[in-house]
């Protein structure tokens, strides 16, 4: 069992959730509330990671994070290090790759809130922020929870993008998914099997927990 890779994956998953969910909540609410001309294009762009082969996405991110790119240069100037083959680069890539997994369930959850409730909140005199905090966020919570679990589970299993952007540096960018691949390449099926089973278990538990909590919240609101 490659514990370093497991802990790195858990750290990456946790931080991706922490960084992405607030952004995805703001973006999901905005998309749910607004109707504008280019909205289908924006939604298509955000959904791209769902359909693009991970290696293609990984390649573009590698180019975008590289020392030739403006992003890579700014990062180099600010932190004196390269964005590619670093944990920070991996985290940024992970956030981008997981955008649709987080935004879509959150957007649907905000869309499902009856317009009458927002109107009622306004006629009750609630400020915009209080309406979001007291009415919308609690009602959208099952969707936010689903976004968190999907993001976390997907990050644990991500392979192509992680390999392209992070390489496979032990303790730094080598995640459990890459470690499983390495073990298989080395004909160490026992270690690969153990890690795969653990990943399977964590994923099932995370999704089951999300379903159970969503159902509980759903029953409370029904």
């Amino acid at each position: 069992m490659d514990w370093d890779a497991l802990f790195l994956s858990l750290e990456l998953g946790g931080l991706t959730v922490l960084v992405l969910i607030p952004l995805a909540t703001a973006l999901g609410r905005w998309l749910a509330a607004r109707s504008f001309r280019g909205k289908p294009m924006v939604e298509a762009a955000l959904a791209l990671p769902l359909v693009l082969p991970p290696t293609v996405l990984g390649f573009y991110l590698l180019v975008a994070f590289g020392s030739e790119s403006w992003l890579g240069q700014i990062y180099q100037r600010l932190f004196g290090a390269s964005l590619i083959f670093s944990f920070q680069g991996l985290l940024l890539a992970s956030v981008i790759v997981n955008i649709p997994f987080a935004v879509q369930p959150i957007q649907r959850a905000f869309e499902a809130i009856a317009p009458d409730l927002r109107d009622a909140a306004a006629t009750c005199g609630l400020s915009w922020w209080r309406m979001v905090r007291r009415i919308e966020l609690p009602l959208a919570w099952p969707g936010i929870l689903t976004g968190m679990v999907l993001t976390f589970a997907h990050t644990l299993g991500e392979f192509g993008v992680v390999l392209m952007v992070g390489g496979s540096i032990p303790g730094k960018t080598k995640t459990i998914a890459i470690s499983i691949y390495d073990r298989v390449q080395a004909f160490d099926d026992v270690a690969a099997g153990r890690m795969a089973a653990l990943l399977l278990l964590i994923s099932i538990m995370a999704i089951a927990l999300s379903y159970a909590l969503s159902q509980r919240i759903g029953r409370r609101h029904a």
Binding site: D119, A120, T123, C124, G125, L139, A222
Partner: protein
Amino acid sequence: MRDTAMRTGLTVTLRQDAPIALDVEFAVAQGEIMALVGPSGSGKSTTLRAIAGLHVPSGGRVACQGSVWFDRDGGISVPPRERRAGMVFQSYALFPHLTAIENVAEALGDIRPEQRQAQARALLERMHLDGLEDRRPAQLSGGQQQRVAVARALARRPDVLLLDEPFSAVDRVTRRRLRRELIELRRELSMPVILVTHDLDDVVRLADRMCVLNGGKILQTGTVDEVMARPATPLIAELLDLAGEEAAEP
């Protein structure tokens, strides 16, 4: 902004061509209940929403208790959260994740938590909902939900009370009981009340005056007795007949 034309009550002038045509003008005095009657799509609910600020018409003016809430020509459009309009929605629009007392407390504004609880409890008691404070809307009957919605609308200490088909989602027995309660309640209310309904029974039992709307236009305004006894045109008589038939349906 203070309105010098009418210091009390509500004055409404609304004009627009789209999404539905609207050309209405009426006033409601303090403590008076004005019923807006008309078939579906006649502009009743849009009028109510425009008074609450939930819909912004392309023209007109709304002033309440001397404050101008909307004036197209003057470039004034006070947002709904700043208008003191208590509204009971057709669907009640109760916050499903909050208990009855929390629903009412939300509309009480920025006051101390203990005061907030006490006032919300008093409002629920006033609506005969004592003992049901901690239930969520899904755990309440249709009639109880309607009473929570009225309590929440009153919690704002509104300058105008807007009731959008408040009895349409309950059975006839509950409807009669709620109507009786509203008749009792109106004795305590001093603000103008607008009741949107397509049921003439509601109008006869609750309203002082009525406005008959069709296609976004007011066809006749007057006391309930006046309009019912002497419809100004055959179309108004026909619309009132239709509303009467709907009211008589079991």
